[in-house]
Homo-oligomer: 135 residues x 4
């Protein structure tokens, strides 16, 4: 299994300029932090929806790669996200991912997104990655 640091090195090549950092990776799981700064904010001081979609996508990718190793051609095929509450503008977002299935061809996982330190999620996503066949 990969370490969070190995994943961050890999992700910094895959998603350059992405302010998401893997904090923890386990068997079929990950925790990813999105450092909220002004570029992620909308008027009214809330975090934009696409920011949370990006965090969900990265958390799924981290949980999959952390379990099966670095597969650069794994791609998202579906993502469904529900926005539940207004995130706080002055707190980082934390995405907690659990894989529901890790097959040879498809992986499916869910991600709960929190404003750091809060109990109730601000968003919840479920996504599918297609895993390329081994060479």
């Amino acid at each position: 299994m990969l370490s969070a640091q190995q994943l961050n090195t890999f992700l910094s090549h895959e998603f350059p300029q992405c302010p998401a950092v893997v904090e923890q990776v386990g068997e079929r799981s990950s925790t990813v932090r999105y450092k909220v700064d002004v570029s992620a904010l909308r008027p009214g001081g809330t975090v934009s929806g696409p920011t949370m979609m990006l965090l969900a996508d990265v958390a799924l990718y981290a949980a999959i790669l952390g379990t099966i190793g670095l597969v650069p051609l794994a791609v998202t095929t579906n993502l469904n996200i529900n926005f539940l509450r207004k995130p706080q503008a002055d707190k980082d977002l934390i995405g907690v991912c659990t894989l529901l299935k890790l097959g040879k061809v498809l992986a499916v996982g869910e991600v709960s997104i929190y404003s750091e330190g809060e109990d109730e999620p601000v968003a919840h996503a479920v996504g599918t990655y297609s895993i390329p066949p081994k060479q």
Copy 2:
């Protein structure tokens, strides 16, 4: 009904730094361009998934606001996106949105996303916005 230019002025405040531009807005519809540059690319020369999610979100927002007027507190409650084909790295993305429902409380629309000039969509999204009650 608003013009594309009025919407772009509004969006540049709502989504600062967003490289999506409304090209056309009609009754329950919009066309939005995402100018693809290096920051949207992943290794292998393809456009990242979150970039397409952002384009879908903006296209829905443009179609809704273009029809009902500038409602800054309309927020996305759900977005579902399927990634269908690899986008081309050297072409802009074009999102074409049609609203399926525009109720008093919820609006639902679909967005087909194309690499400019191509016939087959690279992604397809369906999203819901919650519209706040009028004051």
Copy 3:
């Protein structure tokens, strides 16, 4: 390409007791009718949500099989449905499916569902089928 009648014969084995009938099948498309009777109704005289999910699922299946031939092991991997308006209790439901992608491994399509004769859809679904490798 298969005829609607060939598909109905096949579906009557795959989904016994299913009151959905393929009316038309074309290249990457289908039209399927659900005969609404009392078993599909909820109090207030509307059609139940699961009835519309079933219709969407059958319409996707018909469009895929109509194009690639009878593949009994194709299975749904994802279905997302939005309910838009109250269906009419005294009209059949008509599902109109168009495939967005028909790959070797995955097929993705959308289905608009109408109360027969109405212009505005009562529901809209997007679904993915996994297609098994050829023997």
Copy 4:
């Protein structure tokens, strides 16, 4: 809070002929059983997708009504379901629902569906209900 028995009495009016039974209802949660018999099966001895969609829909409804009381006009606005593994033909399906949000207007919840006694879910759904304003 309602009891499982009160909910079953109510559901038998709302969804007549529905073979789903509420086993447990708690604060923002429910457990619902679908008695698998031949009418839910597809060739190959697996349970049909629409059967699992129905179970997810009922589990969400039970968790919402169990918490806020009998609101007959609550309706599903969105349901997204991923099918993960082949269910077993000779076991009932168990849907376990947790609400992610229970607002005044919208409720969102997730449902994991299991073949009874198994550890890994056969399907996972996320759905939204619209709650009508109180009279």
